[in-house]
């Protein structure tokens, strides 16, 4: 125990105080408030049991749709990024001219904020003068030109597409870092055995790439479930309210003064993330101990 004198626990205090005070406490009292009718228009706060959650799951209020939207976005937006990013990473780790230039360019959108990317694409996807429709008309495909952000059939694809434009390079770069750590010896040995491209992918690349895949899935899913900026800027939940997600709904409830309902929606997000998160964190910290 004398050794621990060199490492006094009060070193942990500043981090712990901030973390508990401004991160854990809001989450905990948020769970508490989600059982109340707290709102802007009355000074008293009453316990209302599960009323807020009943409201959330009443079909006519459409909150269930926002929750489904969030889950679908978290899954689809990640598939759309992770699969192409994997092949791009393999491509850019191979023998390709100008691969450093391509890596730099593809990573470029990562450093921009989602907000700025959203504004950029408000212009690119503009129905009459935007770049995308201009290009489609220019290459003789005018029938593909659309009202990307206001047509109910296109709007989700547009959001997912913009999100991929912004996020693909990041996912790819994580895969590149993972690929570079795989020893060439494995591939040489496989070549001697006469293994083909797909066989090497399935038996060497993918298993060895598990840490990078885990990181991409963990970051991607947490990001997807917490998504706000890109949707707020591109559609603000529209057309109608068909692209609303949990965090845009929380903001709407906050803006309209229904604080209790807002905290209830955040609490649901907390439950979903905890269910997915705790096993992931456990494997992450376990790996760290083993290594």
């Amino acid at each position: 125990m004398t050794r621990n004198r060199l490492y006094p626990l009060y070193f942990v205090l500043p981090a712990l105080l901030l973390y508990v005070g401004l991160f854990i406490v809001p989450s905990l009292i948020g769970v508490g408030y989600s059982f109340t009718d707290w709102n802007r228009y009355s000074a008293d706060i009453h316990f209302v049991g599960l009323d807020n959650f009943r409201t959330v799951f009443t079909a006519s209020k459409h909150y269930d749709v926002y929750i489904v939207n969030t889950l679908v976005f978290a899954v689809v937006s990640n598939i759309v990024k992770i699969v192409p990013a994997l092949f791009l990473a393999i491509l850019l780790c191979g023998n390709v001219k100008g691969k450093n230039f391509y890596r730099t360019v593809l990573f470029l959108p990562t450093v921009l904020s989602f907000l700025v990317v959203g504004l950029i694409f408000r212009s690119v996807l503009h129905p009459s003068t935007g770049l995308l429709n201009g290009v489609l008309r220019g290459i003789g495909l005018p029938f593909l030109a659309g009202r990307w952000l206001s047509d109910p059939n296109l709007v989700w694809s547009s959001i997912i597409g913009v999100d991929a434009w912004k996020g693909l390079g990041y996912v790819m770069t994580i895969f590149i870092a993972g690929l570079q750590a795989i020893s060439q010896d494995y591939y040489d040995a496989a070549d001697i055995d006469g293994a083909g491209w797909w066989s090497k992918l399935a038996n060497i690349t993918l298993p060895m790439l598990m840490p990078a895949i885990t990181i991409n899935v963990v970051f991607g899913v947490t990001y997807g479930l917490k998504v706000f900026d890109i949707i707020y800027v591109l559609t603000n939940g529209g057309p109608g309210r068909m692209t609303e997600v949990i965090n845009t709904a929380v903001f709407n409830e906050f803006a309209s003064g229904s604080y209790g309902l807002g905290t209830a929606l955040s609490t649901l997000l907390l439950i979903v993330l905890a269910l997915i998160g705790i096993p992931l964190i456990r494997t992450m910290t376990k790996k760290e101990v083993e290594s």
Binding site: R3, N4, L6, Y7, F11, A15, L16, L18, Y19, G21, L22, F23, I24, P26, S27, I29, G30, Y33, L91, V96, V105, L106, F107, L108, T110, V111, L112, S113, F114, V116, I120, S123, V124, G130, L131, G169, T173, A177, G178, Q180, A181, M210, P211, T214, I215, L225, K226, F254, Y259, G262, T263, S266, L269, G277, I278, I281, M284, T285, K287, E288
Partner: protein, 274 residues
């Protein structure tokens, strides 16, 4: 076989060129239209104008609060990143070195926060009761608080690679905990501190949702919030919106091109761990 390889190389290059154009074309549009008149910019054409309207930029600086919001962003990013580095390095160092059940439990409790979503409405209540709402200090403290989990996690893993003999020999020379930490340990943590700084700094610089909830007065807005407000007011004047986007992007793109090595390795930390 040779011909097939050559054909494959052409297909690969074509794919990459198309992707490059998809990434760069929006930037080209925005840059070239930021120099046009209001009427011309509405066409959003890619061909640059021969008569650049430099006054677009002056107008945005004047009406868009650019300078103040730029300084706000710099302030938030610098102070929140420095604060995060100090508190997480101290915590990670001690939690990694101490061999006790208590420190293991505290560590797991902190790391649990990596996935935790913010309950914004309740956060406002807490900040309000601490008189931190609508204040720069309140926002910065929240940034540090929200970065504690991830910062502690990545630094913790690195500390265990620094041999204990370093601390112990310094202790024999009579150094106290603070001196050992600041003079011996911190310099050795430098690579992971750069990584943490990149992750934290990028997150704060690009953040939009937290100031949206926590800051009312536009004089405290960072660039993300201010450009969004500007877009709301000047939606019909794309030339100004484009100029504002250019001014918001240029600093971060310049930093990326200069410090690419650090940024890429910082943002991809963990990809090869485990």
């Amino acid at each position: 076989m040779k011909r097939k390889d050559a054909a494959l190389a052409v297909v690969k290059q074509a794919l990459l060129v198309v992707l490059t154009l998809v990434i760069l074309a929006p930037f080209a549009i925005i840059f070239s239209n930021s120099f046009k008149t209001k009427v011309d910019a509405q066409q959003m054409g890619i061909v640059p104008t021969l008569h650049p309207v430099w006054s677009n930029y002056a107008t945005v600086v004047e009406r868009g609060n650019i300078l103040i919001s730029f300084l706000n962003s710099v302030l938030y990013t610098a102070v929140a990143t420095a604060g995060t580095l100090v508190v997480t390095a101290m915590a990670a160092y001690v939690l990694s070195r101490r061999e006790s059940r208590a420190s293991r439990i505290i560590y797991l409790f902190i790391v649990f926060g990596i996935m935790l979503p913010t309950n914004f409405v309740a956060l406002i209540k807490v900040e309000q009761s601490l008189h931190l709402l609508n204040s720069r200090v309140g926002l910065i403290l929240y940034y540090v608080a929200s970065n504690v989990a991830f910062g502690t996690f990545i630094i913790h893993g690195f500390v265990s690679t620094v041999p204990r003999a370093m601390d112990e020999s310094a202790a024999i020379d009579g150094a106290g905990p603070f001196l050992i930490f600041s003079a011996v340990i911190l310099p050795l943590l430098q690579p992971i501190l750069v990584t943490t700084a990149v992750l934290c700094g990028m997150g704060v610089w690009n953040d939009f949702i937290n100031p949206l909830y926590l800051l009312n007065s536009s004089s405290a807005w960072p660039m993300t919030l201010s450009i969004y407000g500007f877009f709301g007011r000047y939606e019909q004047e794309w030339n100004l919106v484009f100029a504002d986007i250019v001014m918001t992007c240029v600093p971060i793109l310049a930093i990326y091109l200069v410090g690419q090595r650090y940024i890429v390795s910082g943002l991809t930390a963990g990809a090869v761990k485990g």
